[in-house]
């Protein structure tokens, strides 16, 4: 029927990943609430390209909705840097409190300047270091180890400050590089460490929890404007509601991943987080020169 509108959504994660499942949940709710008039078609597993490309595709109107990692947005949307900085969040409850309040709202609004509208922020746990050599307890244990970094200026500096040797490497090469000991380690959240199978090569997971930078769900300004006012409000409401759905799925899948990692004989250890905080302090000082990031940072810390 001519009244049916199908919105396209993309994600680089696989079909049963919590963010994909949450967006699929949004689609179901939309269809139900509009009697099938408004639907979502989800392209998962990176079928329509990488995250950096997806952002522009949404801006140009080639796709409508996309889910991307906020770390990939640091340079185009500087406000997201406040979320990516090391040790801004103390724990998952602290992170969620900030994202549910003024911090989350401010970051979501920041996307408007480049023709995007922030629909939701999906938190995806803490990122930690893992390596092929030894357990890491303090930054001193990182000395001399080569860690793969994603293309991010913040992470590059952070690893240098912690005493490691940052080694830029394409994500696809990480597994082989760990296996041949070209690099000693990398960093990611627990679930990706598990699903990338990198634990088959790197047996030491150290709970450094250095970054909590979350995922964001964005819609093209053009696409949103093309909907009726009622549909716009509906989509925004359902998207907000999907955060709770995603969190539940995330917590469950992270717990499963942790169990499977332990069963696969990955050695996990806790770390001296204060020592890590102290080591990266100079990095924070730099970013505090930007008043907008500084304000967000203060807001986040006030909730700690």
């Amino acid at each position: 029927s001519p009244d049916v509108r199908i919105l396209t959504a993309t994600d680089v994660h696989v079909k049963d990943y919590p963010t994909v499942a949450a967006v699929q949940w949004i689609g179901k709710q939309l269809e139900q609430e509009t009697g099938g008039r408004l639907r979502l078609r989800v392209y998962h597993s990176g079928q329509l390209g990488r995250e950096s490309e997806a952002i522009d595709m949404a801006r140009f109107g080639a796709i409508d909705i996309t889910r991307v990692y906020s770390g990939a947005l640091n340079n185009a949307f500087p406000l997201t840097q406040a979320l990516s900085l090391p040790y801004v969040f103390d724990s998952v409850p602290h992170l969620r409190a900030a994202l549910d309040g003024k911090v989350g709202a401010t970051v979501l609004q920041g996307f408007e300047k480049r023709d995007l509208v922030g629909l939701a922020i999906y938190d995806c746990g803490a990122r930690s270091f893992y390596n092929v050599r030894r357990p890491i307890y303090t930054p001193a244990d990182m000395h001399g180890l080569k860690f793969r970094v994603p293309a991010s200026d913040i992470f590059m500096r952070m690893i240098r400050l912690l005493g490691g040797n940052p080694t830029p490497l394409a994500y696809g090469e990480v597994f082989s590089a760990l296996q041949t000991h070209l690099i000693d380690g990398a960093e990611n959240n627990l679930r990706s460490f598990h699903s990338s199978r990198q634990f088959e090569a790197a047996h030491y997971w150290s709970q450094t929890e250095h970054s909590y930078s979350p995922d964001v769900l964005l819609i093209s300004r053009r696409s949103l404007d093309s909907l009726s006012k009622r549909d716009q409000a509906l989509l925004l409401d359902i998207s907000r509601a999907s955060v709770a759905v995603m969190r539940k799925l995330w917590d469950e899948s992270e717990a499963t991943a942790r169990q499977e990692l332990i069963a696969s004989h990955v050695r996990m250890n806790d770390c001296d987080l204060d020592a890590f905080r102290k080591a990266v302090a100079p990095l924070l000082a730099d970013y505090h020169r930007d008043p907008a990031i500084e304000a967000l940072y203060r807001e986040i810390r006030s909730l700690a």
Binding site: F60, G172, E200
Partner: protein, 426 residues
Amino acid sequence: MEVTVLFVVFGVLLIIGVPVAFSLASAALATLLYIGLPPIVMVQQTAAGAGSASLIAIPLFIFAGEIMLRGGISERLIGLASSLVGHLRGGLGQVSVLSSLFFGGVSGSAIADVSAIGSAMIPQMVCRGFDRDFAVNVTMTAAMVALLVPPSHNLILYSASAGGSISIADLFAAGILPALLMTATLMVTCWIIARRRGYAIEAFPGFGVVLRRLVAAAPGLLLVAIIFIGIRAGIFTAVESAAIAVVYALLVTALVYRNLNWRDFLETVTGAARTTGMILFVIASAASFGWLLAYLQVPSAAVDGLTSITTDKNLLLLLMILILLVLGTFMDLAPMIIICTPIFLPLAKAIGVDPVHFGVILILKGGISLISPPLGSVLFVGTAIGKISIGETLKTIWPFWLAAFSVLLVVTFVPQLSLWLPALMK
């Protein structure tokens, strides 16, 4: 209808003689306009198609190959090989196949493999009286072995596209026996064709000559050793090894063999740059075409059609391979894996195919797509290095293609071939 626009525009332009890259880009552009999507996506995806770090190995290995060729490293290497196996029928062809197996054990990429082995072997084989089409075809088909001997970044990509539930160690182990079977089959094929074409046999020159040639080839052998050990020991990546190969080949040629002047160097660079432009531009243009195949959900439509035809397990498996082969000829390998794995793996699991086994089938099939027209990247690299037209290659590639397809069938219907080693290693 959108799919029709995509394929018809591509097909018509290709037939009337528009180069492959421009036919792909035009088909993508026409389809985007027809659907009403912003056509700027075509340009964006073309840039993205050339935006993958692993592609850097292609021009660098071609560059290294040109230097080795011009400076005499290849000639001495093949001279040595020829004195060892020249008395066997089609001996150099066998060398090419075995080199691919060996090199594939570090590069992980069929295109890097054909760039590296091909630029060293093909011109030398032609010098020694082999037909150009034979030299090119042997080298191209042998390159697909690289996909299956570990390490294979395509198997890693498959594991990731499947959501990470499949062990990469299992996949690596599973690829070994099929890779060896493919190697053996291609060597036999090579021998049969060499016999039929009556390629001359060289007399064994005696151990004195072999020893002298060994000394002459030592710098070349050292390069092979540096690459192999360097990657295996984690000193550099496969991509970095290509740059190391260029630097080393330049040093040996300029300082040891004293065989490369400034003019030669410029010509080498020019030749490598031209080949790079042609090959990478096809790969880049194919990205926008692949984007539309995914956007229009062609693979899922194919699976839907498939399951409506039959429920017989073996027939489904066979049809699935055929569909993947056809899709694979219109997509490059990495996008094919990313786009098709989430759609075809669930069906494979449903009919009882082990995901590890399916991974091996998918990658092996991908290898055959790489040497199939109209869009096989290995076909482009091989013919560009071999300085031969695709048409001439295709006239005589079929015995190799059939041999590879038979191996694919055996691997598909004898799951133990893939699953025995991973089970043994547990």
